[in-house]
């Protein structure tokens, strides 16, 4: 009998602390499946962010380092330079990566550092209670933009894939979403391709995942998924921003 669905080996058998309806959990699973598919669990080292995924080191069954806020790409660089044969990935939120850690991500990308970044964009600072993020949409209400993000005083959101695509360094950049099963399957393929890019030694890969935060958006889980589809996707277009050459992480 062929097994078609199983608990991923790279995922620890632990209950997570994520809120009901939060898609961080789905993204964890996709990362673990990619690690399993590529049979790299024994040589993978993860870097956890400061943000809701701070405890990621509890949820994956691979070696981990917990980084300071925003510094995961620098920490990943240090790890990768010591163990070039290891597969090193960081898992970062939008506040972590696109605000306090902007210098670290840009420079890791431009160096073409052979690491993989899973960038979870939920347009808000989840962990600290829903403050405005660099990705918060114009007009979006957060605890520090209570009247809605006013672009006249605080400017515009940052589109990370588009920004990094101006650099020569990155090998693979793609933006995906996890708001419905079809998009989850696509997101899984992109994450696998990102890890495969690193396995093939092609250099820096980043997958931006549009993700929900029902708690801080003040929405039900279902409303949150609709919000991604109807509001986030139009502002943050899905797609490949840099295609890796000759990498087949795809099963098609």
């Amino acid at each position: 009998m062929k097994k078609i669905f199983a608990y991923p080996c790279a995922l620890a058998k632990k209950r997570t602390h994520y809120c009901p309806g939060c898609t961080h959990g789905i993204i964890h699973r996709l990362v673990a499946e990619a690690i399993d598919d590529l049979e790299i669990q024994e040589r993978t080292i993860g870097i956890a962010p400061v943000g809701c995924a701070v405890l990621a080191y509890e949820y994956f069954d691979v070696d981990f380092q917990e980084a300071a806020h925003g510094r995961a790409p620098a920490v990943a660089t240090g790890v990768k330079r010591v163990h070039p044969e290891a597969i090193v990935f960081s898992y970062q939120g939008d506040g972590d990566l696109a605000s306090i850690g902007m210098a670290e991500i840009i420079h890791a990308a431009t160096r073409g550092e052979n690491i993989t970044v899973i960038f979870v964009n939920n347009t808000v600072y989840g962990m600290t209670g829903g403050q405005m993020a660099p990705t918060t949409l114009p007009g979006q209400k957060t605890t520090t933009s209570p009247y809605g993000r006013d672009t006249a005083t605080v400017g515009y959101p940052i589109r990370v894939c588009e920004l990094l695509a101006t650099l020569d360094g990155p090998a693979y950049l793609e933006r995906v979403s996890v708001h419905d099963p079809q998009h989850i399957i696509k997101a899984g393929r992109a994450i696998r391709k990102a890890f495969a890019t690193q396995v093939a030694g092609k250099g820096f890969s980043l997958v931006e995942v549009l993700s929900s935060c029902p708690t801080n958006w003040g929405m039900t889980p279902t409303q949150s998924l609709n919000h991604i589809k109807e509001t986030l996707v139009p502002y943050y277009p899905l797609g490949v921003y840099r295609a890796p050459e000759e990498v087949t992480g795809d099963d098609e």
């Binding site: 040589r43 080292i45 981990f64 380092q65 300071a68 620098a74 240090g78 010591v82 163990h83 210098a103």
Partner: protein, 354 residues
Amino acid sequence: MERVMMKGNEALAEGAIRAGCRFFFGYPITPQNEIPEYMARRMPEVGGVFLQAESEVSAINMVYGAGGAGGRVLTSSSSPGISLKQEGVSYMAGAQVPCVIVNVARGGPGLGGLTPSQSDYFQATKGGGHGDYRLLVYAPGNAQEMVDLIGLAFDKAEAYRNPVMILSDAIMGQMMEPVVLPPLREVAPDKPWATTGKHGRSTPNVINSLGIVGEDLERINIELQEKYARMAADEVRYEADGVEDADLVVVAYGTSSRVVRSAISRLRQEKMKVGLLRPITLWPFPQQVLAELAAAGKRFLVVEMSTGQMVEDVILSVNDRSKVTFFGKLNGTVPTVKEVYDRIRSLLSEGGEG
């Protein structure tokens, strides 16, 4: 063993390579540039990694990654850059990641100047970053000690799983002196805690300073304090020169200790009873020997290139048993031998027995 003439900064860099350091992450700043420049040339020759980071913040976080992954790793900077590194230093203390950090100090506060200074003593020995932690801090007094102490610093960092700091300054870094270099070591010590990938291990290795659950943080801090107590008991180093028969003991480290030594040798020729106590570890501080000298009736003069920082530790050590006087030069100036000589003479004459 080879004997060569080297600048202090280069002696330190070559000493690190000889001691098995194979990873260096840094960012340019005067007066420490000879260290990264030396490493950029030298690391490829020994199969090591030199990487110029985008900032001191990134450099120290690369050090955190490399040290956590089991590499023998060094970073260097000067005062304003060391301030930026404090984030990573605190994280490494918390996560028990070994590394060596060199501060070729210059005057501050703020952007300060490029001239030598000892005004980062508080930052080096009293914390610098957030939280209840300690660093082992070595203060080399000559180029040979640059070589010897950097090797020792790596061994101690790994033995204790703790960051170690070398506090140097612009003069120590630029001065040329003969040094004897030890043979090249390849160090691959067993680090069963490091992140390497599981490779068959049953549980993942995690490098982490988060203590969010229950009494975790209290337990972590108790464990750290026990380690610092062992360091305090076992790692004190100092040089005592002519203190036994001295009426006055001058306490100084690094560059200022060299000026003091010259002044003292003139005074001794004049049969003045004065000695030098030079702390080699600034933390742990040589408290015990100072307490004993105070109990034996000696008076103290502290000479620093600052407005007075180490003097507080001397006062604490002496604990009211004796008199402590301070002579400092403000940031960026070095006391002259004559100034120190005159100060010691006047102290000895006012003390009676001198």
